[in-house]
């Protein structure tokens, strides 16, 4: 007997009798003989609870985790403090062992939590409508491109090269599926999207202009300046924004964005090798019925009590099939709950305070590092939030440096040369509220010593 399987031999016998057969095999008689798998599956052997824990702990301990190493790595995934209340709430199995809320009468908890999540996202982004989540920020960005193409009936997506390289890669895959064209716009020596290049590429065939702010280099983009160029050409402005920055930074919706997307990982979601996180997707009102994914709406029951349901489902795959606005079905609801609890805990003041802490520490780190004659801040002309780039001396072996920093107890920054040949020898660093001044100083000293 296995602890997850209840059936005794007596149960089996009684059930077979009810069915009217002698052996379970008869239930599989319709599988052609040649298709039947013979023998034992060549998969790993069964382990008892203690042995499995030992194996898994062994694997886990071979990874350098944030508890044991001070991380200065960002580039889309961040080491933020996870308020302890979050795990207690998302560990309630009424939430995490539920399916999609198809039966609203017994799913009011999940539905209300998602309604509140949508409300939080609208408030932070300054948009009218948000959905119940996407797989991650990058797939949300690709879906935004798809929405824009559908809404404008145009086929060109104009995307800044300062958007996360993986998001652009997913956008390209998505565009190939939908037969859309992706055109990239360069960046200035200050690390911001080159508006002149943008203007030259946006014309009447552009469905969307896609920016990220803070961008992949950590620099803030001038969304308000870019917006008119998109809109005058009849294109939608898509902005990808780290939601943690929106406690301090202006809501993209107030700067002219038509669609705002991003990844909620900074809002209390464990890094977990980059997933599961939770993409958010918010639009201005005219695009509401073109949104991908689940949306929760408020309504009333037969006695007039407030309640919540999945709504506007005429957009979705289970109703519209091949005419749906997207194929998404399962989303990242539990992580949306994580983000909602985070925002409930931080609240109005906390989102400003955490922003200040991040800005303060990152700027202290940037100044501290810039003191070294070996280091330069290549994008000093741009403003940043908690992430910035530093240029290392020519010929620095980035892989070796990463290993050496590990030896010293640090998870170092991201090598921008991986994606941008012109930024060879440039490292992207993130400094969150988790980093102490002492760690920043020690990191700066260690780094300088290694160069």
């Amino acid at each position: 007997m296995h602890r997850y399987l209840p059936m005794s031999q007596e149960d089996r016998k009684a059930m077979l009798e009810t069915i009217g057969i002698a052996a379970v095999d008869e239930l599989f008689a319709d599988i052609p003989e040649a298709m039947r798998f013979q023998g034992e599956l060549p998969v790993a052997d069964a382990l008892d609870e203690m042995s499995l824990l030992r194996l898994m702990r062994g694997w886990a301990e071979r990874n350098a985790d944030f508890d044991r190493y001070a991380s200065f790595l960002g580039a889309g995934i961040y080491d933020h403090h996870l308020p302890v209340v979050i795990q207690h709430i998302v560990s309630r199995s009424e939430f995490y062992t539920a399916y999609t809320p198809y039966q609203p009468e017994i799913s009011q908890g999940e539905l209300q939590a998602i309604f509140e999540f949508q409300s939080y996202i609208c408030e932070l982004t300054g948009m009218a409508v948000a959905n119940a989540s996407m797989y991650d920020g990058a797939t949300a960005l690709a879906e935004a491109g798809a929405l824009a193409a559908g809404a404008t009936r145009r086929r060109r997506l104009i995307v800044s090269r300062a958007v996360h390289p993986e998001a652009r890669a997913i956008l390209r895959t998505t565009a190939r599926g939908l037969n859309l064209e992706v055109v990239e716009v360069g960046f200035t020596p200050d690390g911001a999207t080159d508006l002149h290049d943008l203007i030259s590429k946006v014309d009447g065939s552009a469905a969307a202009v896609i920016l990220q702010s803070p961008n992949f280099f950590g620099c803030l983009e001038d969304i308000a300046a870019a917006a008119p160029y998109a809109h005058n050409a009849g294109a939608l402005l898509v902005v990808s924004a780290n939601p943690l920055t929106l406690g301090l930074l202006e809501a993209p919706g107030r700067l002219g964005a038509d669609i705002v997307v991003g990844d909620c990982q900074p809002l209390g979601i464990p890094a977990a090798l980059g997933g599961p996180t939770c993409g958010y997707f918010a639009v201005a009102e005219p695009w509401m019925r073109r949104m991908p994914g689940r949306i929760v709406g408020q309504t009333v029951d037969r006695t007039g009590r407030r309640g919540f349901v999945l709504t506007l489902q005429a957009r979705e795959q289970h109703i519209r099939r091949e005419k749906a606005t997207s194929n998404i079905c399962s989303n990242q609801a539990l992580l949306a709950l994580c983000a909602a609890v985070y925002l409930s805990a931080l609240g109005k003041q906390g989102m400003q305070d955490i922003g200040r802490l991040n800005v303060g520490k990152a700027h202290y780190a940037a100044k501290r590092l810039a003191l070294s004659p070996k280091l330069e801040l290549p994008f000093a002309g741009s403003s940043f939030f908690n992430e910035f780039s530093i240029r290392l001396p020519q010929g620095t072996d980035m892989a070796q440096l990463g290993e050496a920093l590990l030896q010293a107890g640090f998870i170092g920054g991201y090598d921008l040369g991986r994606d941008y040949p012109e930024l060879n020898g440039t490292m992207l660093l993130a400094v969150t509220e988790q980093r102490t001044r002492e760690e920043i100083d020690r990191f700066a000293d260690t780094l300088e010593g290694l160069l």
């Binding site: 997850y4 399987l5 059936m7 149960d11 052609p32 790993a44 069964a46 609870e49 824990l53 886990a60 990874n63 350098a64 995934i77 080491d79 939430f95 995490y96 062992t97 539920a98 999609t100 799913s107 908890g109 999940e110 998602i114 309604f115 939080y120 609208c122 408030e123 119940a132 797989y135 993986e166 997913i170 599926g177 406690g247 301090l248 930074l249 202006e250 464990p270 090798l273 980059g274 599961p276 996180t277 509401m288 407030r306 519209r320 091949e322 194929n327 079905c329 990242q332 539990l334 992580l335 609240g347 109005k348 003041q349 989102m351 400003q352 200040r356 303060g360 202290y364 990463g402 001044r437």
Partner: protein
């Protein structure tokens, strides 16, 4: 819970179960709990020198007014979400026979393992040397899933089943294009999940829907009529959504392959076949699995899931990047993929936390345990079908696999719809089955018990359904007005769609 199988239940089952008053009160939104000045967080004072925010972040970048987030204290947060959780139903609350969703027990051990700091607090861009444990886990999962499906390689990137479908179809498209062929159509049976045609569209294909035959299987004549030189693939769920094994699978595979098309396996129903038959051996070229179904990972109230995709050798060059590979010295590394790769489909490494849970699950059961899972799932479903057959119309009266379909047509004659029966089940503490799907069965009720439910649980549920079928004949209004015991009664879905209120507009 009052239950019809109890001796005194005959009348009790026709009464709503009384509910404590507190549970039926409305629940305030967290925004409505807000009081100026309250906080539920604890951040350290800054240990770096003071700075001028105006100088650091110019005003044009900053919010003019703070976001109108609630101001609550920690007890509010905990009580609010605890109250919400009590208004929600998960597998840990009770039986959840939601067809095609495989709502099996979600082992607690897997939750603990996924929360180990070495899995939960690691960054995808750390040096390879500092992620060897994570990579070994992923590598072993790739290998075990390949063995289980009979495929040659697995990508763990897709975040969900539909995401896997799209990934697989993009590979199929790239495969045909690499051979200089333009194949624009994907054939899909009418019993398929809606994600199949939707995924075909976003992968740039046109969908051709083919009807099922009288036995609920792919109509071979319809397939032959639909197939042609423009066929890119046939997408098939096997067993299909009626819970029936496509017994002509060899012939189907031949028809598709002879026309130059590929065969796609939708793994939504893989819980019926583990260790019994493998998609790779049935002739499928591309397979996705739903780890949040077959491999017990929790569905999280809608997600996250994981939808790994397996392929045969000829599709290897098109796999999305990156794969986890092993060097001759035993160390693991990231293979960034071939130049023919379809590119990226998901950030980083897919839903790693879900992959960890799935790996733990597979190693809890091992080869014979995994086969036992499918045998028991199928036995449970057939037992339920046998017991319910006298009381409901059974459109396809023969052995099923892990799930089966009833029709509420007999009950409809009394003016009671399948929806009403589902709502009445709520009063007895059950999550109802999937209803009105698949689309090719009228008043459809689709039941999937899974292997983690005991005979007693099945019997109680069956007795309840039989009691409801009796209610339908004696007093249909009781069923039509259900539920009585939930925190809200039936909700006005038309109003929600007609006058959308999609956020609380608290700002």
């Amino acid at each position: 819970m009052i239950h019809p199988s109890d001796p005194a239940a005959e009348t009790a089952s026709r009464q709503p179960v009384p509910q404590p008053a507190a549970a039926s009160e409305g629940k305030a939104l967290i925004f409505e709990l807000s009081r100026p000045g309250r906080v539920a967080y604890s951040l350290p004072p800054s240990d770096v020198p003071d700075f001028d925010l105006d100088e650091t972040l110019p005003a044009r970048f900053r919010r003019q007014t703070p976001a109108a987030l609630p101001e609550v204290y920690e007890v509010d947060v905990i009580r609010h979400y605890t109250a919400l959780s009590r208004r929600n139903f998960g597998i840990d609350n009770g039986f959840y026979p939601l067809g095609s969703c495989t709502m099996k027990y979600n082992p607690k051990l897997n939750e603990d393992i996924a929360r180990l700091p070495g899995f939960a607090k690691i960054h995808p861009y750390q040096p390879e040397s500092s992620l060897q444990g994570a990579f070994e886990l992923l590598y072993s999962l790739q290998r075990d899933l390949a063995a289980l499906t009979g495929m040659d390689q697995i990508t763990l990137q897709p975040a969900a089943g539909a995401h896997g479908e799209w990934t697989g179809l993009m590979m199929i498209r790239a495969y045909h294009e690499s051979r200089g062929e333009r194949r624009t159509k994907v054939i899909i049976p009418d019993s398929a999940h809606g994600t199949n045609p939707a995924s075909a569209t976003v992968a740039g294909f046109e969908t051709v829907t083919i009807r099922s035959d009288a036995r609920g299987l792919v109509d071979l004549d319809a397939l032959r009529a639909a197939i042609g030189p423009d066929t890119a693939a046939l997408m098939l769920t096997n067993p299909n959504t009626l819970g029936l094994f496509e017994e002509h699978i060899v012939e189907i595979a031949d028809i598709v392959h002879e026309a130059g098309g590929l065969l796609y396996y939708d793994g939504a129903n893989a819980n019926a076949i583990i260790g019994i038959t493998r998609p790779g051996d049935m002739g499928f070229d591309v397979v996705h699995l739903n780890l949040h179904k077959t491999m017990s990972t929790p569905h999280g109230g809608g997600g996250p899931g994981a939808g790994p995709v397996g392929v045969k050798d000829r599709l290897l060059p098109f796999l999305p990047a990156p794969l986890i590979a092993q060097r001759t010295d035993g160390r693991f590394y990231l293979d960034t993929g071939s130049p023919q790769s379809i590119g990226r489909v998901k950030s980083f490494f897919g839903n790693f936390g879900i992959l960890v849970r799935a790996c733990a699950y597979m190693r809890t059961l091992g080869p014979s345990g995994l086969r036992q899972v499918s045998e028991d799932a199928v036995l449970n479903a057939n037992y339920m079908l046998a017991r319910l057959t006298p009381y409901f119309d059974v459109p396809h009266p023969r052995f099923c696999k892990h799930e089966f379909v009833l029709s509420g047509n007999r009950q409809k004659k009394h003016g009671v719809r399948t929806l009403d029966i589902a709502k009445r089940l709520l009063d007895f503490g059950y999550h109802p089955p999937t209803i009105y799907f698949p689309l090719n069965v009228e008043e459809c009720i689709m039941i999937e018990p899974t292997e983690t439910e005991s005979k007693e649980t099945l019997d109680r549920f069956i007795d309840t359904l039989i009691a409801i079928a009796e209610e339908v004949e004696i007093n249909p209004d009781i069923v039509k007005n259900a539920p009585y015991t939930t925190v809200v009664s039936r909700l006005d879905e038309a109003l929600a769609a007609r006058k959308p209120v999609l956020n609380c507009s608290c700002g």
